[in-house]
């Protein structure tokens, strides 16, 4: 059974939500934290409810509703979300009040909205959707776990379509704690030159990306979701990638573009650099975390990019790390020399030929690795 991405909507630190162009109006930030650009929530949520909703709930609900609108589907067959930290804003609010008010006279709203499944629940509530509803909260593979569930559900034919999303909010408290834990750079940096210097740490991010997965073919589908593999502490990531591709009757030669989860942290990026010189040596490479920042479900942002690249047939210059200058006459790009273009900022499209098969490879703190295979329909 083939599975397709029918539609996708993405709230991120870039102009990705209800924006005509595709990463054409890139926002530059200087600092170590990228904040999501807020959609006009009034279009999606009752203003009375907006006031009570935290940032992550609003982002999630807006992205989910737009995704359904784009798919022209009123009622999904299941709603599944992935989030590592869940509703941080409400969690911090309630924790703060417990300490400051010494457990006295606490209002319940923050606690009620602090549970990790709040976004999935709010979507169900707004749609009056009684179908399967679940939330995965496993660190850097929270989104992949949700996606894996959605793919199984479609294969089991328990649903014709599934709304699945990755959601994460960064609040001041989590940013401060994660900074102290050494995740982010010590000096402000431009996100657009994230890969230009080698230093420790990355930049924080947040966002909400939703996808309507379906088993139904339609020319309107964005892409085919061909495969997904989640790995924990793999012995050799290179071998794992080769065997993943093999399980789909592919080799690296069939991959037109690899989107990697490079995040500007010298240690984090070692894995990618190594692959770029070996397995991915002759494959065009793109990156995305300079646009959205690092966060546990950032691979959902990468999937949004991949789906759009396949639909539109263009690779925005802003994501390109390395192109392979191929002999377009015989279509064989593998025999040609490669050209390294690091941190490229350009308005030109990155590759002239439109990719048909994209591999997304991301790892989270070198423990959790994920591979997503996406193809043109």
């Amino acid at each position: 059974m083939k599975l397709y991405i029918r539609s996708s909507a993405c709230v991120s630190p870039q102009n990705t939500f209800n924006h005509e162009g595709f990463l054409d109006n890139v926002v530059e930030y200087t600092g170590t934290r990228l904040k999501a650009i807020e959609p006009d929530y009034k279009l999606f949520i009752d203003p009375k409810q907006i006031r009570r909703m935290s940032h992550v709930i609003k982002m999630g609900v807006a992205a989910a509703k737009q995704c359904l609108l784009d798919a022209d589907i009123e009622m999904p067959g299941a709603i599944i979300t992935g989030t590592a930290f869940g509703c941080m804003e409400d969690t911090v609010t309630f924790l703060t009040r417990i300490v400051e008010q010494q457990e006295e006279l606490l209002p319940p709203t923050a606690f009620i909205q602090s549970t990790h499944n709040t976004v999935a629940a709010q979507i169900a509530l707004l749609l009056k959707c009684h179908s399967y509803n679940s939330t995965f909260v496993h660190k850097g593979i929270s989104f992949e776990s949700a996606l894996f569930d959605a793919m199984m559900m479609l294969k089991e034919q328990d649903a014709d379509n599934v709304l699945v999303g990755g959601i994460e909010e960064m609040v001041d408290t989590s940013f401060k704690v994660l900074t102290r834990l050494g995740l982010y750079k010590r000096q402000p940096v431009s996100n657009l030159s994230l890969f230009a210097t080698s230093s420790k740490g990355t930049i924080g991010g947040e966002g909400a990306s939703f996808f309507l997965l379906t088993s139904k073919y339609s020319t309107g589908n964005l892409a085919e979701l061909t495969g997904l593999k989640i790995l924990y502490k793999p012995k050799s990531i290179e071998d794992s990638i080769v065997s993943f591709l093999k399980s789909h009757s592919l080799t690296i030669d069939h991959i037109d573009l690899v989107i990697t989860g490079k995040n500007g942290d010298i240690k984090n990026d070692e894995v990618y650099e190594q692959l770029n010189g070996s397995l991915f040596k002759n494959t065009p490479i793109a990156n995305y975390k300079h646009l959205c920042g690092e966060y546990p479900v950032s691979s959902s942002f990468a999937l949004w990019i991949a789906a759009n690249i396949l639909k539109l047939g263009v690779v925005p210059g802003i994501v390109g790390e390395r192109i392979v200058i191929g002999d377009t006459n015989n279509g064989d790009s593998l025999s040609s020399k490669t050209s390294q273009v690091v941190g490229v900022v350009t308005n030109n499209d990155f590759a002239t030929t439109s990719p048909k098969t994209i591999l997304i490879y991301n790892h989270y703190q070198n423990k959790y690795h994920s591979l997503m295979l996406v193809s043109a329909i």
Binding site: I79, A84, F85, G86, T91, F94, L95, T96, I98, V99, E100, Q102, E103, E104, L106, P107, P108, F111, I112, Q113, S114, T115, H116, N117, T118, A120, A121, Q122, A124, L125, L127, K128, C129, H130, S131, Y132, N133, S134, T135, F136, V137, H138, K139, I141, S142, S145, D149, M152, K155, E156, T173, K176, V177, R180, L181, I230, Y232, K233, K367
Partner: protein, 399 residues
């Protein structure tokens, strides 16, 4: 897709026992686990009863071999998960495709609370090791590492139905031939966060809870962990002892009514029970015992009871809420009660619903109040409902 998924092992820890055998003794003796708060530093001590596991963190560390700084949630998880794995005694476990699917509601919150006191006073203070494993996923990872499971792990958090959903997901991983063996369930320790949270909702009973009683006043919070080991048909045939039972049905439906309250007619609960029956190919008369969600709050028991009435009327199987023993263990409850459901089939037991006195006005039935043994139990339904309208029913069946 493989046909059946079998339960090869069980493990549990709660206020009424540190292992499965101790639970069976407590049930037989009708001994509830609630008492005054001793572990949490809170203003609610001596005011609100809770169901604490009767082991300190130091004792749990000694039992599990985990690090001294581990969250109590991970410690409880380790105790029950390793008991389940030992019980299953799967030959050549290391050569199989194995997974750990665990659930919890607030991750390492017990440690984060300690961190937060110092952090609030000064953002550069607070021991980072206390917040390092804040994430729900950390609890699962710590235990999976200790159990030597690396093929597949994930964490589910859907409030109080979390671990029922973990078992449900694990079964599907086997049916889809992704894995051969999965340890699935959930864990939660008592925290000030959840105690105060439920207290603000005014649904905590100041006395021991009375599920499904007309005069019920709320729930008692508990803590613990419960896991089942699920195996494929192929693995079941290699077991040196018989599997306990099989997981024959499951369903998750959403009430889509309110973030925390259940709909008056129990729509989500009804759809979950109905869906699980459909999945198992059974009808209401086939169910021999219902392990109720039965928190003891006016709202839950009314909605769940109404849904049962809609589905089972006029013939009601015996039913009870084991939360009258363990308190409501939140993200662990579906796992712990799955273990109880398996044991009900294996030992032919129906657990009494403690402290029940008066039938609810709106219901034509009442829970079982006697400990019954020697029962012929083929099919058990286990209900777990959570915030966000998340309703899950599982059905366990004798082989």
């Amino acid at each position: 897709m493989s046909s059946s998924v079998y339960i090869a092992g069980v493990g549990a820890i709660s206020a009424i026992g540190n292992n499965v055998a101790e639970h069976l003794v407590s049930f037989n003796n009708e001994e509830a686990g609630m008492s005054d708060i001793t572990l949490l530093d809170t203003i609610h001590r001596k005011k609100l009863p809770v169901a604490e596991v009767k082991l300190s963190n130091d004792e749990l560390v000694a039992m599990t071999g985990l690090t001294a700084n581990a969250s109590r949630t991970a410690l409880l998880s380790m105790v029950a998960a390793s008991e389940a794995l030992t019980d299953a005694a799967i030959p050549d476990f290391g050569s199989l495709r194995t997974g750990f699917v665990s659930a919890n509601s607030v991750g390492g919150m017990d440690k984060s609370e300690d961190f937060f006191i110092d952090f609030l006073a000064d953002n550069n203070k607070g021991k980072l090791r206390n917040v390092f494993d804040h994430e729900c996923g950390s609890m699962t990872e710590i235990v999976a590492d200790k159990l030597g499971i690396s093929d597949f792990m994930t964490t589910i958090s859907t409030a109080c139905s979390s671990s029922a959903n973990a078992i449900f997901y694990a079964a599907r991983l086997i049916k889809n031939d992704v894995l051969d063996v999965v340890i699935a369930g959930g864990t939660d320790s008592l925290t000030k966060f959840t105690l105060n949270g439920f207290n603000t909702l005014m649904i905590l009973d100041k006395e021991f809870c009375k599920p499904f009683d007309e005069n019920r006043e709320g729930l008692n919070l508990g803590e613990g962990a419960g896991y089942v080991v699920l195996v494929s048909e192929k693995i079941m045939q290699t077991l040196t002892k018989a599997a306990h039972c099989k997981l024959s049905g499951y369903n998750n439906s959403n009430d889509a009514y309110h973030q925390t309250a259940s709909s008056p007619d129990g729509t989500g609960s009804y759809l979950a029970m109905q869906g699980a029956l459909k999945k198992s190919g059974l009808t209401p008369p086939d169910i021999d015992y219902i392990n109720l969600h039965g928190t003891g709050t006016p709202n839950n028991d009314s909605a769940e009871g109404t849904a049962i009435k809609r589905l089972f009327d006029p013939a009601y199987p015996p039913m009870s809420s084991t939360k009258s023993y363990t308190g409501h263990t939140l993200g662990a409850s579906g796992g712990i009660e799955a273990v109880f459901s398996v044991l009900a089939i294996k030992h032919g037991i129906i657990y009494p619903n403690l402290r029940f006195e008066t039938r609810m006005n709106e219901l034509p039935f009442e829970p079982e109040t006697n400990y019954l043994s020697g029962q012929d139990i083929k099919h058990v339904m286990s209900n777990s409902f959570g915030f966000g309208g998340n309703c899950t029913s599982l059905i366990f069946s004798r082989i």
